[in-house]
Symmetry: C2
């Protein structure tokens, strides 16, 4: 094992806190004196139930999830939820979608299998298309769908849209979940894959307001029916137990995290703000690199950038890797580079990236 | 960590080979010199792709999966597949189901959302209802569904049914997958959750014959469309990467396993036969314990048994735990006890259970 692990900027599955990985390794053959790995525990045994209940309570506390929201631990990821949400919420009626990038576009396409979908606003991929009161919302829609952080495009809603017509807002918050608070007064349902800020791929978190349960279409698979999942404490089918355990350790880590005189999620958010500012400032000051997203909606989590000379891309990635900066290649659909700087990326990692960006520019700019 | 871990008879998530857990722990912070945990790797990076391809190749070799079958690494478990199979294969037509216990009954109920389902044979929960040529099969059915090992009831098809009318056979083999060979000439599709013989919960394996791809209903979610999953090498959505990695280590472990002069899956099958024989012989010779399944279809993996005096159940479980024999409680729907003796349960574990059964009977019988 290297003394210092490299910094890993993967968009997901993504870097995890080192103390969490150390604890997972230490407990691998014997969790809490049980003589079992968490992977080996029945999901209905008292050991795993205690892990599950602690994780759920910690997550609820961290995000201040109101009592009238259920937290579901599911499978299938964001792409699965693109179907599971309309299967549960659309009632076969109307769904409004604001398109701000690749993920919301995919969500709209998938929902068309089940509902009358209307794109009520469409951004350029580099902006948010106005405030919600300028969108052509339908008052009889079953819900409004927004992706509050576009992982590929790097566009983030720093404030959740306020939907004034009473229609529930559904947010796909996969890539900012647990990086900042959520204003639940504006939300009907939130979902996200774990593999950004929370834990291993294969776990999907869903937060759903009570009144939205119980309206699934008949064609909704039982295993993906929110009411069925909620009524069975996420154990209608065998849940991804090990991923829930790792997520629970991450929740504990966030609760104990301190930064700038703050603790917990507030500390994490402030560090995320500082990390993003450091990186965007460097990119904006450069004449080699370019981030193309409008300043008011730049993602704190996923920072896509382009070298002004594409011919330097391969050299950039090779030299970055040699400098201990991994997985900076941009998504294949948009090219360029992307630095994902989730909760587990320390400030030192962003500083190391910034230093490298400047050195590389000095040599090749 | 105890010197000797207890023996864990959980029906799933279930005990895993100790060398696999040790390797997972050792590689937790740095897989293969990459500086990353497997949990932290992009599923599209060369490191994870190498893990995925090795796992797929090893599984294909172990089970002698023919070239015209695709292996899919999915999410959602057996209960998810109960919907996903008819969404992909039923074409909205007819589905024949042989009911041999709890799981096939659930499969039939779920398939009714999408197809005209007929129960073509129904067992007592303790037997297999005759050979397939006695079932009231429909020649225009889209497929015939069988659960080849009923985890709750302990009923196993030791030979796969032969469907003579040309209709594809679908087998839910969750709880015997990788415990024995599969006769692919009789199968159109096989599926199973990983959490029995293979790895952590949250990974579902699907083996599907080429000609059955591409017929999904329009309402099938993209993330669960077999053709979409196959066309994207199981990476249409982010797969459960860490679970695939652990499964891959288990495949390696099975390949290297030796027993009774055999190696690999043949060795594993022989040990499973021997383990089951040891346990059933003990139960049958006892006047305190009783297994109620007919002899020709007793499961090699899940051995339910009852104490003739129910009042002894709690004492039995407490003394078993004290003797290092864990998770022997039967499924809540049928009561009694259940010893699941999957691949990773050594012969010594079954011997320890047998010794305990005899001692307990001597004290309390």
């Amino acid at each position: 094992m290297p003394v210092q692990r490299p910094f890993n900027f993967s968009a997901g599955p993504a870097t995890l806190p080192e103390p969490v990985l150390q604890q997972v390794a230490a407990e691998m053959l014997d969790w809490g004196g049980s003589g079992m790995s968490v992977m080996e525990m029945s999901h209905r045994g008292k050991e795993f139930i205690s892990i599950y209940e602690q994780a759920e309570a910690d997550l609820r506390e961290l995000l201040a999830v109101p009592a009238n929201f259920r937290i579901l631990f599911m499978q299938g990821g964001g792409l699965g939820e693109n179907a599971i949400v309309p299967l549960n919420l659309s009632r076969g009626g109307k769904v409004d979608v604001a398109v701000t990038g690749s993920w919301s576009r995919k969500s709209a396409a998938e929902a068309r299998r089940y509902a009358d979908v209307q794109v009520v606003a469409e951004g350029s991929g580099r902006n948010i298309p106005g405030s919600a009161n300028t969108w052509s919302l339908r008052s009889d829609a079953a819900y409004v769908h927004v992706c509050t952080n576009e992982t590929i495009d790097g566009v983030e809603f720093h404030e959740l849209p306020r939907i004034d017509n009473g229609v529930p807002l559904v947010i796909d918050c996969s890539s900012h979940l647990l990086s900042r608070p959520i204003d639940w007064s504006r939300v009907g349902l939130a979902f996200g894959g774990a593999q950004k800020n929370i834990g291993p791929a294969g776990l999907t978190l869903v937060f759903v307001r009570d009144d939205l349960l119980g309206h699934a279409l008949d064609i909704c698979p039982s295993a993906f029916n929110y009411k069925t999942v909620a009524d069975n404490q996420s154990m209608f089918n065998t849940p991804p137990t090990f991923a829930i355990y790792v997520a629970g350790l991450v929740f504990q880590w966030v609760k104990q995290f301190t930064y700038a005189g703050l603790q917990g999620l507030a500390a994490m958010e402030q560090r995320n703000i500082d990390k993003a500012a450091l990186l965007y400032t460097t990119l904006d000051a450069s004449s080699l690199y370019e981030n193309r997203v409008e300043a008011d909606c730049r993602s704190r989590m996923n920072v896509p950038f382009y070298l002004k000379d594409d011919a330097l891309n391969e050299r950039f990635l090779a030299e970055a890797k040699a400098a201990g900066l991994l997985q900076l290649k941009g998504h294949k659909s948009v090219g360029g580079m992307r630095a994902s700087i989730y909760n587990a990326m320390p400030l030192e990692g962003v500083q190391a990236l910034v230093n490298f960006l400047k050195e590389f520019e000095a040599r090749h700019g």
